[in-house]
């Protein structure tokens, strides 16, 4: 790629109300979508707002809509998304926009908590670490769901989130499922109750946009299915 080539980058400006503004950004060999955004802020429009931290796909703060698809921008190579020399970058769907490309992630984390996403201990620091066989079915289920960076890409991909304001969303439910399988956790029934309410796991229609877009290749759909089974069993036994 030659250094003279440039990309037309349309960036959302404003809050909920706003419009796209287009910038010419020089094309480089190794360049991520986040680099495009940073270039605009550093060289073209100093008032552009966006968010990032780790720049290597670990913190989950840089997610945006790139050509209408939710992505982690720090690890999305431009060549993967540029279409005819253009890229459109907008704030993440389904969350309130603070300014330009930065959204308010509080609702996402409030739901994480509401889904019973915090571990509930049965032991203390005075006890030894519990021996847990890594290959038991429970541990495999818990591990499969655990490497979530809470980037909210799945949350933006899910149409149920858009239309059902109570819906806890794929990431929070995925976390709850991980905990349901954690033998150390002591709040199983409370958590199953938490994911059975008006916005609980039963509202998922298995659209699987969450799976299609999760940058870490997690499978919230499978986790939610697990919760559906677990809650039904608990309901049949009268536990919830």
């Amino acid at each position: 790629m030659s250094d003279d080539a440039s990309l037309k980058v349309s960036v959302w400006r404003g809050a909920e109300a706003g419009s796209f503004e287009t910038f010419d950004v020089p094309m480089q060999e190794s360049q991520t979508v986040l680099d495009l955004v940073a270039w605009v802020q550093q060289n073209a429009d100093p008032t552009l707002a966006y968010r990032y931290a780790c720049r290597v796909g670990m913190c989950g703060s840089c997610a945006m809509m790139v050509n209408g698809v939710p992505r982690w921008t720090c690890r999305t190579h431009v060549s993967k998304v540029a279409k005819d020399g253009t890229v459109e970058i907008a704030p993440l769907r389904n969350l309130p926009v603070i300014k330009d490309l930065a959204v308010d992630m509080d609702p996402f984390f409030d739901k994480w908590t509401a889904a019973g996403g915090a571990f509930s201990p049965t032991k203390s620091r005075d006890d030894t670490v519990e021996p847990i066989l890594p290959e038991t079915p429970e541990r495999r289920e818990a591990d499969a769901a655990i490497e979530c960076i809470n980037c909210a890409v799945c949350y933006a991909a899910c149409d149920v989130v858009s239309v059902n304001p109570d819906y806890l969303g794929p990431a929070a439910l995925n976390r709850a499922w991980s905990l349901v399988n954690d033998v150390k956790d002591g709040a199983l029934d409370a958590r199953l109750t938490a994911v059975s309410g008006a916005g609980g796991c039963h509202n998922c229609h298995s659209q699987q946009g969450c799976v299609a877009h999760c940058p870490n290749e997690l499978n919230p759909t499978a986790s939610i299915a697990g919760l559906k089974r677990a809650t039904v069993r608990a309901a049949l036994k009268g536990r919830i």
């Binding site: 933006a156 991909a157 149409d159 298995s206 699987q208 299915a225």
Partner: protein, 112 residues
């Protein structure tokens, strides 16, 4: 179409929803027609005669397709929810549609 929806399983969802909705809308009409059997058998016959028209046959084909697609789609969803996870979700969704198509075609062919 919004780009984030552009994947096969979202289309499968859309089909399931549309079919469920249309079936639910069709159902009262269907029940209404059938209840003529009690009061006015001739009227029922009138309705059934209708089914001779090609257009109506095609509509019936559509209806059977919707019913089959919704049912197979529903079975697929319940399998997804209740059986061990399979990575072949797209294949299953496509198979459900194909099967529904076969079934409704069979219906269509026997009707003409």
């Amino acid at each position: 179409m919004k780009p984030h929806r552009n994947h096969p399983l979202w289309y499968a969802f859309a089909l399931h929803r549309a079919s469920g909705l249309l079936l639910a809308l069709f159902l009262p009409a269907h029940f209404w027609v059938l209840s003529y059997a009690l009061t006015d058998a001739a009227a029922l016959d009138g309705f059934l005669r209708w089914t001779d028209y090609t257009m109506v046959k095609i509509a019936e084909f559509g209806l059977v397709f919707l019913l089959a697609a919704h049912m197979f789609g529903g079975l697929r969803l319940m399998a997804l929810e209740w059986l061990p996870w399979s990575p072949r979700q797209k294949t299953y969704a496509a198979s459900a549609v194909a099967l529904s198509f076969c079934l409704s075609t069979l219906f269509f062919l026997s009707a003409v």
